[in-house]
C-alpha cells in the first residue's frame, strides 16, 4: 500500500503529465504550422492493376511498360482532370458550354479538396468527408475500409453500375446515382445520405461521374497504347511534336527508310476521342431510360381478386420461361449456382488470363491494389432485402434489364410487361412464405429432390 501515491501526490503528478502533454502538443502544432502541413496532399493512384494486366496480355514475360509512357498517361490525366484537391473536367471542344457538359465545376469544387467549411451551411471536401474511406481517393473501390466490407465498395473506373433505370451497357443517369446516394443500398455498407441537402448530393453525384470518366479514360488510353504497342511510342505529345514526327515519318517512307514512330495523340485529340467517347455515352444515358409501364391494379394489392392467380403465374414463370430458378434456386435461396465472379473481379482475373486457382498471380494483383476475389452468389430472394430498392418499379427494372456487372441477364424478350409484373409480385411475396416449408418449385427437368 505504501507504493501507491496518495491523492494529493496523484494530483500533482497528473498536473505535471498534462502540462508536459500540452507543451509537446503545442510544439507539434507549431511544427506543423511552420512546415506548412505535416501530410502531403493526396494524389490519384495510377491504375496499377490495369497496367500489370496490360503487361501480362501484351508484353513478353517479365517486361514492363516504360515509366516514361506511364508518366505521359498520368500527366495527361493531371492536365485534364486536375488533382484530388483541385478538380477540373476537360472541355471536349474549346467552345463547349458548361450547361451542355456532364458535370458542373461548382459541384466538383464542393466535393473535391480537404474537408472544411468556412461558411455556415456550405461544406467542402464532401467526397473525402463521406466517401473516400470506402471508395478510395481515385474512386477505385479500394479505400481503407474496403477489405472488410462484403460486398466491396464500387470501383467507378469501369463505368459499370448495377442499379439504374437504363439497360445493360448504358451508363446510369444523374437521377439513378442520386437515388443510390439518397437511399443507400440496403444489405450493403452503402449508407443512405438522405440527410444531406440536395446541392451536396448533386455535388457528390457529379464527383462520382468525374472519377468515373477519369478512371475510364485512363483504362481506355492504356488499351489504345497497348493496341499497337512499341516501347518508344509517345502516348501524348504537343501538336507541334506530333506534326514534326508525322512529317519525318512521311519523309522516311518516301526515302524507304524506317519511319520514326509518331505520337498517338495530342492532348486535345485524346480528350476529344477518348474522354469524349465516354462523356457522349453518359450524356446520352437519359435518352435510353427504360420506361417502366404503369403497374396493373393487382400489383402491391394482395386483396385484389386477381392477385393470387398472378402470383402463381409468377411462380410458374420463375421456374420455366424466366429461367430464374436455374440460378436463384428452386426455393429462391440463391443456391442455384455459386462459383462465378462479378465483372469488377473478372476484369483483372479472367480478362488477364488468371484462373481462380493461380494464387501467386492473384497475390501479385492484390499487392497492386486489387481486392481479394470473392464469388458472387445469386440473391437470396427470401430475405426481402432488395439492394436496388424495394419499390415495385425497382424490382421490375432489375428483372427487365438485368444487373450490370453481374451474371444477371436481361429478361427474355418473350416476357411481356404483365409477365414481368407477375414475377415482381411473386418475388415480393417470397419472403412471406413459410421458410420451414419452402415451396417446392421444381425445375421441370430436374427431380424434385435435387
Amino acid at each position: 500500500m505504501k507504493d501507491l501515491l496518495t491523492n494529493s501526490e496523484l494530483e500533482k503528478v497528473s498536473k505535471v503529465i498534462r502540462a508536459v502533454h500540452h507543451i509537446f502538443f503545442g510544439l507539434g502544432i507549431a511544427a506543423c504550422a511552420i512546415s506548412c502541413g505535416c501530410t502531403p496532399p493526396p494524389e490519384f493512384k495510377p491504375n496499377l492493376v490495369e497496367i500489370k494486366k496490360a503487361e501480362m496480355l501484351k508484353l513478353e514475360a517479365g517486361k514492363q511498360i516504360p515509366a516514361a509512357q506511364l508518366q505521359d498517361l498520368q500527366q495527361f490525366l493531371a492536365d485534364g482532370f486536375g488533382t484530388p484537391d483541385a478538380a477540373k473536367f476537360p472541355k471536349l471542344t474549346p467552345d463547349e458550354k458548361e450547361e451542355d457538359g456532364l458535370v458542373r465545376q461548382v459541384n466538383l469544387q464542393a466535393s473535391a479538396g480537404a474537408v472544411l467549411s468556412n461558411q455556415e451551411g456550405k461544406a467542402q471536401g464532401l467526397y473525402r468527408e463521406h466517401c473516400v474511406h470506402c471508395h478510395g481517393i481515385s474512386g477505385d473501390g479500394a479505400g481503407p475500409t474496403a477489405m472488410f466490407l462484403n460486398p466491396y465498395p464500387r470501383d467507378f473506373r469501369l463505368g459499370k453500375f448495377k442499379f439504374k433505370s437504363t439497360p445493360l451497357f448504358t451508363p446510369p443517369t444523374h437521377e439513378d446515382l442520386y437515388k443510390v446516394l439518397y437511399n443507400g443500398i440496403p444489405g450493403t455498407a452503402m449508407p443512405a445520405f438522405k440527410r444531406l441537402p440536395k446541392e451536396e448530393l448533386d455535388s457528390l453525384v457529379d464527383y462520382v461521374k468525374y472519377l468515373t470518366v477519369r478512371g475510364k479514360s485512363e483504362r481506355d488510353l492504356l488499351a489504345i497504347l497497348m493496341e499497337e504497342y512499341d516501347e518508344k511510342l509517345d502516348l501524348i505529345a504537343t501538336a507541334d511534336e506530333k506534326k514534326a514526327a508525322e512529317a519525318a515519318a512521311e519523309k522516311a517512307e518516301a526515302d524507304g527508310a524506317e519511319a520514326p514512330l509518331a505520337p498517338i495523340f495530342t492532348q486535345e485529340e485524346a480528350v476529344a476521342e477518348v474522354v469524349g467517347a465516354t462523356v457522349e455515352k453518359w450524356l446520352g444515358a437519359v435518352d435510353s431510360v427504360t420506361v417502366v409501364p404503369a403497374s396493373p391494379e393487382w400489383v402491391a394489392n394482395p386483396s385484389h381478386p386477381e392477385h393470387v392467380a398472378k402470383v402463381e403465374r409468377g411462380r410458374e414463370l420463375f421456374r420455366t420461361v424466366g429461367s430464374c430458378a436455374q440460378c436463384h434456386g428452386n426455393t429462391g435461396l440463391g443456391d442455384g449456382q455459386l462459383n462465378d465472379f462479378d465483372d469488377w473481379t473478372k476484369d483483372w482475373m479472367k480478362d488477364a488470363g488468371i484462373l481462380p486457382n493461380e494464387s501467386e498471380k492473384i497475390r501479385q494483383m492484390v499487392a497492386l491494389g486489387a481486392l481479394p476475389p470473392r464469388n458472387i452468389s445469386p440473391r437470396n430472394l427470401r430475405q426481402g432485402v432488395f439492394r436496388g430498392g424495394n419499390e415495385v418499379r425497382d424490382i421490375y427494372l432489375r428483372i427487365k434489364n438485368g444487373i450490370e456487372g453481374t451474371p444477371m441477364p436481361a429478361a427474355a424478350v418473350t416476357l411481356s410487361p404483365d409477365d414481368i409484373w407477375c414475377l415482381v409480385e411473386f418475388v415480393r411475396q417470397m419472403p412471406y412464405e413459410q421458410i420451414n416449408r419452402p415451396t417446392r418449385l421444381g425445375n421441370k427437368n430436374e427431380k424434385a429432390t435435387q
Binding site: I264, T320, S323, G402, P409, A412, V413, K444, N445, E446
Partner: protein
Amino acid sequence: MRFGNAILAGLLLSTFSASALFAEGWGDFKGKIVVKGTVPAPSPIDPDKDKQFCGKHKLVEESLVVGKDGGLQNCVVLLFRSRTVKQEPKVHPSYAEAAKKNPVLDNKGCRFEPHVMTMTTAQKLKVTNSDAVGHNANVQSLGNPNNPQIPPGGAVELDMKKSDNLPAAVVCGAHPWMKAVVLVRDEPYTAVTNANGEFEIKNLPDGEWIFAFWHERGGKTKQGGYLTALKAGDKDYLDKAGQVKITVKDGQVVDAGVLSIESKDLIP
C-alpha cells in the same frame, strides 16, 4: 453506329454503280492452316450446373480443335484493324444476298453451335435455345454488348451494328463452360477455318490488304489473340505483329498454301 451504316451504304452504292463494277477487279484469298507436333486431346468438361440435362451430352473443351491431318479449325481470318489501320474494302455484290440472312447461334446440348463464327453489321445475330433449360447469351462484343435471357425453345435477334476490331466471346452465365466466339465486321471478308484448317475468302477488291489470324490459343493468355508463328514452309509467313500483306489482282487467287504452326506456339 450511324457512321458504320453510312460506310456500308456507301460501299454498297458504289459497288452497284455500273462504272464502279466494271472498273473494279476482284480476287480470292485462300489457304490451309495445320498444327505441327503433338496436340493434346480436348479435355472433357464436367458440367456442374443443370447436371441432369447438361450431363447427358459429352462436352469437351473446344478452344483447340485439330483435324486428323493437323488441320486447325476455328481460326478466324480477318482484315487487321486498329485505331490507325482502317482498311475499308468495297463489298462485292455477291455478298448482298447473304447480308439479308441472319446467322444463327444456337444453344444446343449446353454448348454453342457454331463455336466460332463471323458476321457483318448488316445482319442481326439470331440466338436460339434448342435446349430444355434456359440460357443467356452474354455477348462481350465491345461495340455490341448484350446479355439477354433466352428461355427453352426461345430465340432473340440482336442488333450488331458496330464493327469490332477483334472477335468477342459469348458466354452463358448459368453454364459458365459455354463459350462461343463471334466477329462482327462491316465487311464480309472474314473466314473461319473448317475442320481441315482450310479457309477461302472470295471476291476481295484488288489491291493490298493486311490480314491477320486470330485463334483462342493465340496471343499471350487464354483470352485468345493473333497467331504470330505461322510459317509457309520454312519461312515466317507473318511479320512480328502477326500480320501479312497480300496483293489481290483481278481474277487471281492468292493462295497462301499450307501454313503451319508448332503446337508449342499455341497457348496450352
